[in-house]
């Protein structure tokens, strides 16, 4: 047997012994999504969630390609493929959802010093620390580089003052990676640093923002004379913008993938909703005008999925392609939800109460939530700017 075949047998065997049955396909879907984000404040209604996370974290398989000395799985690409296939085969749930994994860890690996990698990567991988992202500010949205949260050099530490906004799950997070101004405001890109801040520090406070969906996944985060040790600076002083851009690429890729994956796996598909509410005629959606919209949409979805596959087959390309996926993926996800709501008629606009079932009420909120998809992580308009400047090399205005 080849090494890879041996590895497959080992993985299969390990998963068989270690993946709790409630973490596999077919288990009742009553595990709240918040349970799998880890962190110091995590509450586990289902103890299996914790068990599964701990076991996978111990193996380093929540970030299988990261070297073992940083707590990762130390696997090569072929091995990761096998791990994914075997997890997929038993329908194993992701053990951990994490901004640490998706965004921070990749930039720490690239820009962090040895001590930072050894300190933070294992805790991300084991899900011990939950991270949030401190980028946008009330005065700095699309023009992120104009940010004003200040980190003053106090010799042995920075003193941080200012406000971040749209910090996802800041109220549930333990640490925040933040962009702060350490240099002069002009030229604005050259005075920004990338800082890691423990949110238990005195002076850090958060306040949830209620969205049009009625939910509060985002917060405002305030820094009032927060002391941050110098060792928490990632990369060079005033060189944070490069790291920030790199991290945004990871975020864009994640957002576009997430929207599509959510759509494809969902039972609440545009087609089934349309057939349910408009009726079916020899297997076809009865309303021909709506059917035509659905067909167009589903074919674009198919082509977009193929494009993600092609990008992977090409070995993952430059930043501008991440912008395309972010733009197209989020716009597509918005259109998908518009179609689902339209297909459901009145039942697609339910808010609360007992006259509608949960999936209907959830659809309304999910539809409203998608409106933020094309704003967060860089608006659609910003993505189109990136494509026209970086890919098409059109001149600046």
């Amino acid at each position: 047997m080849s090494d890879l075949e041996n590895f497959r047998v080992e993985v299969k065997d390990w998963l068989d012994k270690n993946c709790p049955s409630t973490m596999r396909a077919g288990a009742p879907a009553d595990t709240p999504i918040d349970e799998v984000w880890g962190g110091r404040k995590a509450v586990y209604k289902n103890p299996d969630s914790k068990l599964w996370l701990d076991r996978m974290g111990e193996k380093g398989w929540t970030m299988p390609t990261v070297p073992k000395e940083y707590g990762g799985g130390g696997l090569n690409k072929e091995e990761v493929k096998i791990l994914n296939e075997e997890m997929f085969a038993i329908g194993a749930r992701a053990p951990l959802l994490s901004f640490g994994i998706w965004m921070l860890a990749p930039v720490l690996l690239e820009y962090g010093n040895e001590a930072q990698k050894r300190e933070h990567l294992p805790k991300i991988i084991k899900g011990e620390i939950r991270w949030c992202q401190g980028y946008s500010e009330p005065g700095s949205g699309s023009d992120l580089a104009s940010l004003a949260t200040k980190a003053k050099d106090m010799g042995d530490h920075f003193l941080v003052n200012g406000q971040k906004v749209w910090t996802s799950y800041a109220d549930k997070a333990d640490w925040i990676f933040a962009l702060v101004r350490t240099g002069p405001k002009e030229p604005k890109h050259n005075g920004i640093s990338f800082l890691l801040i423990d949110m238990e520090n005195p002076g850090v406070s958060t306040k949830p923002i209620t969205l049009i969906s009625g939910k509060s996944p985002f917060c405002e985060t305030f820094f009032d004379n927060v002391e941050v040790p110098k060792e928490n600076l990632v990369g060079e002083l005033n060189a944070g913008w490069t790291i920030a851009k790199k991290l945004l690429q990871h975020e864009r890729k994640f957002i576009s993938n997430f929207g599509l994956a959510a759509g494809m796996g969902s039972k609440k598909d545009v087609v089934s909703l349309a057939k349910k509410h408009f009726g079916e005629d020899e297997g076809k959606i009865s309303n021909p005008i709506f059917r035509s919209k659905v067909i167009d949409h589903k074919m674009k979805e198919h082509a977009f999925g193929l494009t993600l596959q092609r990008a992977a087959d090409e070995g993952g390309k430059a930043s501008a392609v991440a912008s395309m996926f972010k733009y197209y993926g989020t716009e597509h996800n918005k259109r998908r939800h518009e179609l689902m709501v339209a297909a459901s008629g009145v039942n697609g606009l339910a808010w609360d109460g007992n006259e509608f079932d949960d999936s209907e009420k959830n659809l309304t909120r999910a539809w409203l939530r998608t409106k933020g998809n094309s704003i967060e992580g860089g608006t659609s308009e910003v993505q189109l700017n990136v494509i026209s400047k970086r890919v098409l090399e059109l001149p600046s205005g």
Partner: protein, 379 residues
Amino acid sequence: MKLILNEEQNYLKETALSFVSEKTPVSHLRGLRDSNDQLCWDKEIWSEMVKLGWSGILIPEEYGGSNFGLTGMSVILQECGKTLTPSPLFASGVLGATALTKFGSEEQKQKYLSKIASGELTTALAIDENSHHNPNICELKAIKDGSNYVLNGKKIFVVDGASADIIIVVARTSGEDDDVGGLSMFLVESDCSNLKKVKLDMADSRNYANITFDNVSVDESMILGEIDMGLEPINEILDVGRIALSAEMLGSCEKAFEITIEYLKERKQFGVPIGSFQALQHRAAEMFCEIELTKSAVMAAMQGAEENSNDLQRLSSLAKSIVGETSHLVSNEAVQMHGGIGVTDEYDIGFYLKRARVAETILGNSTFHQERYANLTGF
């Protein structure tokens, strides 16, 4: 299924690009049009393409081809599409070669395939009878008469039909107008008596014909495949054609887009390049995304054909439909973004618009393929 080209396919693509850039820029098509060329393609150019082996790419080695596969053929057509290069490659090297390779008798293969590969003869597929492609409908009848079949009826919009030596015609041998089980294919030599070809002048200045069969008698040895073989096997040929044509259309989209982006960088108004205006930048970026999706759909269809995917019909319709829509978008925007010169005959961009629309109608336009895709998927 990997959505990337292998080394040989990339090499073919590069060879094709340098060939069409050097030998057949858009001025080549313009020249043929201006001289009112009745062939609408150039014999010298065609013989050079044949020498490069392009005509035999889908033909097995024992009949003089290279059996290189549909992806190889498609990437060549994609590059041909970039300069709107006219040639019988699609009608003969794709449709004819596929029909004969898949369904020809040993004798037919011996007789015709090597000649298609060597360029000695070209073929055309006569299938449409109405203004919209609809292979379900066939009124042209072939009635058995001893050891012969007698064909009566009319086929329209036969691609490269005005020049083809062999016409592959779909005929009804049983059943009524929309009974797809009663369809058969025949090989008809185009110089036979009672076959009348009328060349069509279409907007894209390429070679098409309407063909009337008035008591055309063919020997039963000219049956291609089985009598009453039905639409399913015929669709296999059509899907190969749709995929190859999608690649050609993609090439035209890519080039029209590239020409337009270059123009946005050069053309100045208000003292600045018009490409610095965000109104145009965002439309250009959106086109970029649509073209990327189209590339993936075409690539998936080509590779699906290589691997005999059981999802090939859907992939073919996805490709042809999406490339049709993207062609619409890109050709219209290309003209608009060129401003005044975009609507002049002197400038090349109008040729891309005309070709885009005609090519979209060949073997089914976007709505045809959306409907087909939906029916295959269960929408």
